[in-house]
């Protein structure tokens, strides 16, 4: 063991190479990765999907099945209770590996919903781990499990012991899984996208928990994620991975203030942050992550890099920029003093996304006249002068809960419970909220995919508002011609057995707009409009990447030249860089076609970026409504503040001081009395549980509405204030990048 790493390191991966064999050939998923984690440190491994993060982290504990995987090269040293151990050599020795798993190193996974065994009690699953590694009697293991459940913040830990997975919410399951992972006090926790599947407020709680446990259990954490915000808040150091290679490593501060590698720069710039200028184009990387079998020779990033040069055909060297900051890029290899003080400003920056950038100048947003919602507060409804696209009044959607043999109704889910909204022509209204808040239902209601239980919908195709609440499906078909819809999951919303021409052309044929050859032509135009090739009409959806599929879905939605678009989480299933491309595309199209849009998403940063106004929903009700920037700077409802606080900001060292909302989202079938947020609100007063606050304008601001009893008194924090406190690093970095000319 003479080449064992120094004892300060908990994990040391050296030059790991893992390849996969299949009939199609051999692909190298991990291509020479070196990475270390020191005592007590949280290291973030960041990158988009398919870049090899998961294989790397799973290799540490031998969870990559071999075959098909082959460990071609490299060592993984892990500090265990028996000293430094090399684990790659243990892969054949399952017994030794098993002793390490759960005891020296543990792992939590991406999907808490599916990571807890569905048919075993929580208690049994956790004690099983203790009993596997330690000689203790079951009663003691039981006690320790309860203690652990308490430590991870599960309410009533003893009561949780006999519960099953389906009785716990996602956040509680992830807590239970963390307890399971840490019950034997491992020194290293591997976290594989631990919060990706969770709601934002729950995500913030789990991140907080991991940070807290790191101290209390004095362990190290290796966290992999695609979300730059998550690592900024949590990690001490970051490694950025792209196509099986680490392209940049550094402390959190260095990476965020002076990102060196063009890929890191691109990733940072393509995230809509809470500080970016809304409705402007994001800097996005061109193209998509290529298939592993198509990796460019030399620098793996070459085909997407805006600074690519002839030399990039060769593998770039790893250049030490500073003591704790290195990158693998030719740009820095020849610079004599690569770590000069102003290295950052001389760094070249990625240019805008190729095709779109050329055809579209950045969008100048004309400030729209602010509209008021029609609400039960006695506000005069806006005059119907044709400037309103959509108006919904007191709309509700109630589902009965049926039980038993006779399908008796035992309750009602009030998915949407009295919502008023107005969308003006050319305006984008953002609808934001966590899962189960009813935002998707609102989208389905306005397009009449579901029948409203109450209320009134009026839609103005291109003139006066017209009542569409109860019109027949036949009439609705005519109205739908003016409505486009884009959904979250492009793969499942596109019929896999239809080719692109038929998918995009279907609405044209349905509405008898075009026929035969004319369809081909129009489809071609549409495809080009969304940045695809007209020639790809005959292909099928699976031949496209996620981002391209979303483009197809957008082309389809726009086929009938609608004036109104409903976009329901259009980017949440996409990688960061692709997400930016799609957001840019939506902004461009909206400008070109003067679309009105209802933009629904859970991520308030994304919503803020594209919207003129934002409506925040919580459990079927709108709790705040107002100008997009205004809401983010000066929220008046505690829930909005909580949403803003929960967004992990890509700004290291910036601890949110605000209190996070407690607990889980309540059951929508059984919402709390009074103010629905009172069970989680840090400002809750006795009156909140009794009286339901109505949505009413903030005193002195006619266009900002809130539904909190204390909205006029509370002094809530938005984001800009925090942005001002911090060194203007990221904001400027983003700006600099776009200003600096590429060499």
């Amino acid at each position: 063991m003479n080449n064992a790493p120094d004892s300060d390191k908990v994990l040391d991966i050296r030059n790991l190479e893992v390849s996969f064999r299949s009939i199609a050939g051999t692909t190298r998923a991990v291509n020479g990765v070196s990475l270390d984690v020191r005592s007590g440190e949280i290291v973030g491994l960041v990158g988009e999907s398919g870049c090899g993060k998961s294989v790397t982290i799973r290799s540490i504990v031998g969870l990559v099945p071999s075959p098909p995987a082959r460990f071609e090269n490299g060592e993984i040293w892990l500090r265990t209770r028996r000293g430094m151990t090399e684990t790659v050599s243990l892969f054949k020795d399952t017994k030794a590996l098993r002793q390490i798993r759960g005891r020296d190193v543990s792992m939590i996974f991406q999907e808490p919903m599916r990571s807890v065994h569905p048919m075993m009690t929580i208690g049994k699953q956790i004690t099983e781990g203790i009993l596997e590694h330690e000689v203790v009697d079951p009663a003691e293991a039981y006690e320790r499990t309860i203690e652990m459940l308490d430590l991870v913040g599960l309410p009533n830990p003893a009561g949780q012991m006999n519960r099953y997975a389906h009785e716990l919410s996602g956040g509680m399951r992830q807590r239970a899984l963390i307890a399971l992972a840490l019950v034997c006090h491992p020194q290293l926790l591997l976290a594989d996208e631990p919060t990706t599947a969770l709601d934002v407020t729950i995500q913030a709680q789990i991140l907080e928990l991991i940070r807290d446990l790191r101290e209390r259990m004095s362990m190290s954490v290796l966290l992999i994620t695609h979300n730059m915000g998550v690592v900024a808040n949590l990690a001490d150091r970051i490694s950025v991975m792209y196509l099986g290679k680490i392209v940049e490593t550094g402390t959190v501060e260095e990476i965020f203030k002076e990102p060196a590698h063009p890929y890191t720069q691109g990733l940072l710039a393509s995230m809509p942050s809470l500080f970016s200028q809304p409705k402007t184009h994001l800097q996005s990387l061109r193209g998509v992550v290529p298939e592993l079998s198509m990796v460019p020779k030399g620098c793996v990033f070459a085909d997407r890099c805006p600074h690519v040069m002839p030399k990039c055909d060769e593998t770039p060297p790893v250049v030490e920029l500073r003591a704790d900051h290195s990158t693998a890029c030719w740009l820095y290899a020849d610079v004599e003093e690569p770590h000069g003080p102003d290295a950052a400003t001389t760094l070249p920056a990625p240019s805008d996304d190729g095709a779109q950038a050329e055809s579209v100048p950045s969008v100048d947003v004309i400030q729209l006249t602010r509209s008021e919602p029609v609400s039960d507060t006695g506000e005069a409804p806006p005059v119907d002068d044709g400037s309103v696209q959509l108006q919904i009044e007191n709309v509700a959607l109630h589902y009965p809960i049926l039980r038993g043999l006779l399908r008796r109704q035992v309750g009602t889910v009030r998915a949407v419970d009295g919502v008023d909204l107005t969308i003006r022509r050319g305006e984008t209204l953002g609808l934001v909220g966590e899962s189960g808040c009813g935002k998707t239902s609102v989208g389905r209601l306005v397009t009449r995919l579901v029948e409203p239980s109450a209320g009134r919908l009026r839609f103005g195709a291109d003139g006066q508002l017209e009542e569409i609440t109860h019109i027949s499906q036949k009439e609705m078909k005519r109205v739908r011609r003016s409505m486009g819809m884009v959904f979250q999951d492009p793969l499942s919303s596109l019929n896999a057995r239809m080719n692109v021409r038929n998918i995009v052309g279907e609405p044209l044929m349905l509405h008898e707009i075009a026929r035969g050859k004319a369809v081909d032509e129009r489809v071609g135009e549409l495809l080009e409009m969304v940045g695809l090739r007209a020639a790809h009409q005959s292909r099928f959806p699976h031949a496209f990447s996620g981002g391209q599929r979303q483009r197809i879905a957008i082309a389809r939605a726009l086929a009938t030249e609608p004036s109104f678009l409903v976009a329901d989480e259009p980017v949440s299933a996409l990688d960061v860089s692709v997400q930016a491309q799609i957001l840019n595309l939506l902004l461009t199209l909206q400008e070109q076609l003067s679309l009105s849009m209802l933009f629904i998403a859970h991520d308030i940063a994304v919503v803020r970026h594209v919207s003129d106004r934002i409506a925040v929903m919580y459990l079927g009700k709108i709790v705040e409504l107002g100008n997009a920037l205004e809401i983010c700077v000066r929220p008046i409802h505690p829930y909005t503040e909580a949403l803003l606080a929960s967004i992990p900001l890509p700004m290291p060292g910036l601890e949110t001081v605000r209190e996070l909302p407690k607990g889980d989202l309540p059951d929508p079938a059984n919402p709390p009395t009074g103010c629905r947020f009172h069970t989680r609100c840090p400002y809750s007063q006795p009156i909140c549980a009794e009286e339901e606050p109505v949505l009413r304008p903030l005193s002195g601001a006619a266009d900002h509405f809130g539904a909190c009893h204390f909205q006029d008194e509370l002094d809530l924090q938005g984001v800009e204030e925090i942005g001002d406190l911090s060194p203007p690093a990221v904001v400027n970095a983003g700006e600099n990048m776009s200003n600096t000319q590429a060499t």
């Binding site: 399952t94 798993r101 543990s106 065994h117 569905p118 048919m119 099953y164 039980r403 043999l405």
Partner: protein
């Protein structure tokens, strides 16, 4: 859990009632009065007119013929429950007499087939999934495919052929050696039956076993890909514990819930085999009665088989609820 069992129980009763009602309607459907037909038949057979009168009278009273249909149905159902299966026109004997032994044999063979299927298919399917793409997996995938696609009567014929030509046997067909066929039940007869029954289990169960191997393999593969299996592995558990404690109980679910459904399959499968091998099972009798338009017999058999099926389903549901907390909490 209690409400769940109660629910299932009520469902079971409802299904039973519906099937009985349908059977009843079928029994009532033929034009002309059952009694008239009966009388004619008996007359044809030169039965003493007095006996005819009394028989007819007995049936009239028992089935409430001539009264309204609700009462008729009630009486018919009641007599079924008491074990009176009606009268077979074709065989001129009470249906229950005809069914008697055949019924219990059929049940035993079905249950034995199920057990055989479980014992053979579950381990093979599981191992095929664990050793995916191994020689073991490939061979059983092939065999299972064969088993699914070859109809059981062919297997039966091949068996007949092989044992006659190769072994010179004369007694493959049938459930007993000739000397025991008509004998009283005795230990010797039972042993003799065991000697024959395994061939029948094999032939009848082959298709289902092969199918179950495939289901088990696919389910096990799915389950092994689930994140909670990774969680289990990361605890440091041995593979055996991961497979048996964590994966098996999830993977086996659909197989248990399909048990109820398998009964009719096994019975129909065994019918064909029973015809080829001349076994005294219920299937051939049912076929016979259907061909002979012997309504009472046919309906009685149907009702009894349905009862078996429904009870089988009920038991499977109970087993599932016991295994799977999600079902237990559903209600």
């Amino acid at each position: 859990m209690k409400t769940y069992i109660l629910q299932r129980f009520i469902q079971m009763i409802i299904v039973m009632l519906v099937v009985m009602l349908v059977s009843f309607i079928i029994v009532e459907l033929p034009p002309g009065d059952f009694l008239t037909t009966l009388r004619e038949q008996l007359t044809e057979q030169n039965v003493d007119p007095k006996v005819i009168d009394s028989t007819v009278e007995m049936y009239r009273a028992r089935y409430g013929l001539g009264e309204n249909w609700v009462i008729r149905f009630g009486k018919w159902a009641w007599s079924l429950m008491k074990g009176d299966m009606g009268y077979s026109m074709q065989h001129n004997r009470p249906a229950s007499e005809l069914m008697g032994e055949r019924l219990s044999l059929t049940m035993w063979i079905s249950i034995a087939t199920l057990v055989f299927m479980f014992i053979v298919a579950v381990p093979i399917g599981m191992l095929s999934a664990i050793r995916q793409y191994s020689a073991w997996d490939h061979s059983f995938t092939f065999l299972a495919l064969l088993g699914v696609s070859v109809p059981s009567f062919i297997t039966a014929l091949v068996f007949l052929l092989l044992s006659v030509t190769l072994l010179g046997a004369t007694t493959v067909a049938g459930l007993f050696s000739p000397e025991y066929v008509t004998a009283e039940w005795s230990w010797a007869k039972f042993v003799d039956m065991l000697k024959h029954v395994w061939i029948i289990l094999f032939i009848v169960g082959l298709g289902d076993t092969a199918g179950t191997i495939r289901v088990m393999r696919a389910r096990m593969l799915d389950t092994l890909g689930e994140p909670y299996i990774d969680t289990a592995r990361m605890k440091g558990l041995s593979s055996a514990k991961v497979y048996f404690r964590h994966a098996l109980r999830v993977a086996i679910n659909p197989i248990i819930s399909s048990i109820g459904m398998r009964f009719p399959q096994i019975i129909s499968g065994s019918t064909i085999v029973a015809i080829v091998l001349t076994l005294p099972l219920i299937g051939p009798l049912l076929l016979d009665s259907l061909l002979g338009e012997d309504v009472y017999l046919a309906c009685s058999i149907l009702v009894v088989l349905t009862l078996a099926l429904v009870i089988g389903n009920f038991l499977a549901d109970l087993a599932l609820a016991w295994l799977d907390p999600r079902i237990r909490f559903e209600s």
